[in-house]
Amino acid sequence: MSKPKLLWLQSISCNGNAHSFLNHPELFSILAHFELIYHPILETNYSLEDIIKKRVECNVLILEGSFVQEGFLKAGVEVSSVIEYYAKRAKDIITVGTCATFGGIFKQKEPDKISGFAFDIEEKTTRYEAYASKLISLPGCPIHPRWLSFVLLMIANGKKLEIDRLHRPVELYGYTVHMGCTRNEYFEWKVDAKNFGLKEGCLFYEQGCQAPFTRGSCNKILWNDTSSKTRVGTPCFGCTEATFPQSSLFFTKTNMGIPAKMPLGVPRRAYLTLTGVTKSFKIKRFSQRLLEYDE
């Protein structure tokens, strides 16, 4: 049986997801399940001209970058028309990154014109109906290489992926980024981090951590197989969310000390009641350094 033909095409993009995927430790054994027709960085047997002239076949289409209806040309050709040509023929379409999925960073340039491939933030674009049956969304800025390899291997093995209403695989986006963070105890007891880079304290109260209302598995499938942003002490910026990029990162918006955004699905009354109770206790262990070294 011939291998599925894989095309990686870009619209308005920074290459971030293409680069991120190169970090996969098993990159070539994953790609070995496919015939790589085109990739923006890796060499293949075909040129961009072959793609533009529509000389190749496509089974799995990976899309990176945000979209405009018209006016974005590469080599003199309207990019979205080339992409739609292959999108019609592909069996699976994967939008990688928040730009291709929801609009992302590039949308900020012209918010009324620029969108994702099938979604404009969370609204369906005119393309949606035509491609919904084969669409998989992988938002992230950039995506984790293992999120993509998971999807590719499921496709290569003919397995069905469960997806949510925005077409994100539930195995990856059913979690919040908050789940699995090593700072969870500090979140429970409302102890905030006194500075960046410290092992102690939670970043939700002062430093703008968006993980409690951001879907993703950054604290389950670790970055570089080693760690995560929040574990090392940098707040989550919510890069997987349709509303990314928000402003005032590194800063938690509060109303008289009450966080303006609640953890996913938690009613404000429930959150505030619990906060009032936990804040009434001072637990010694949480005011101490985690690791004490002898001088």
Binding site: I258, R269, L272, T273, G276, V277, S280, F281
Partner: protein
């Protein structure tokens, strides 16, 4: 009698103990009031009263939760309306002063028992635990006011102290019989003062 009826009756009895104890604690002082005093006023045996509350300290803590919940429930009704923060302030001041007039023991208890006998409440009612029913609603009131742009964003306790300290102070003056007028006389002015201090 069905199990449900028994449970209902017990709940009613429990509430009447709380209310009677509340009155006695507020009027005679916490230390001067004994469990036999409360039982006597309720015409029940001391032993039976201990079936409901194992000690005077436990009863004291249940009372503060009870008063905080009942004030919280009333403020929640205000929070759940579409009124402006200015109107809500007026409503909260009104209901607080009405409570001070109709059930003075509730507020007296808070000011004279809860705040003055911290040693009784330190174990089990630390910080905000027993008053969270009330504090949570005040937080929601502030949060709504700031997010709608009507109130100025500031530290929670600066705003809370201004609002509740003011109301508590007035009720305290009333309790000392210092106020020349009935307490509702002050509602409009006080509401305006609070609004002016908190508005954006």
């Amino acid at each position: 009698m069905s199990i449900l009826k028994i449970a209902e009756k017990k709940a009613l009895k429990r509430e009447s103990i709380i209310q009677t104890a509340l009155q006695l604690f507020a009027s005679q002082g916490f230390h001067k009031t004994t469990i036999p005093d409360i039982a006597k006023k309720l015409k029940m045996s001391v032993g039976n009263l201990y079936n409901y509350f194992a000690s005077k300290d436990i009863l004291a803590k249940e009372i503060i939760k009870y008063t905080s919940e009942s004030l919280g429930t009333k403020i929640r009704e205000v929070n759940d309306t579409d009124a402006s923060s200015e109107e809500k302030i007026h409503q909260i001041v009104t209901l607080y002063f009405t409570m001070a007039k109709e059930k003075p023991e509730m507020i007296e208890y808070f000011l004279r028992v809860y705040l003055s006998n911290r040693e009784v409440f330190n174990d089990g009612c630390e910080g905000m635990i027993c008053v969270s029913g009330f504090i949570t609603e005040i937080m929601i009131f502030f949060d709504d006011g700031v997010s709608s742009g009507e109130l100025r964003d500031q530290d929670f306790f600066s705003a809370f102290g201004l609002f509740m300290g003011y109301l508590g102070g007035m009720v305290f003056l009333k309790g000392e019989d210092v106020l020349p007028q009935e307490i509702e006389f002050y509602i409009d002015d006080i509401s305006r003062n609070i609004y002016n201090a908190l508005k954006a």
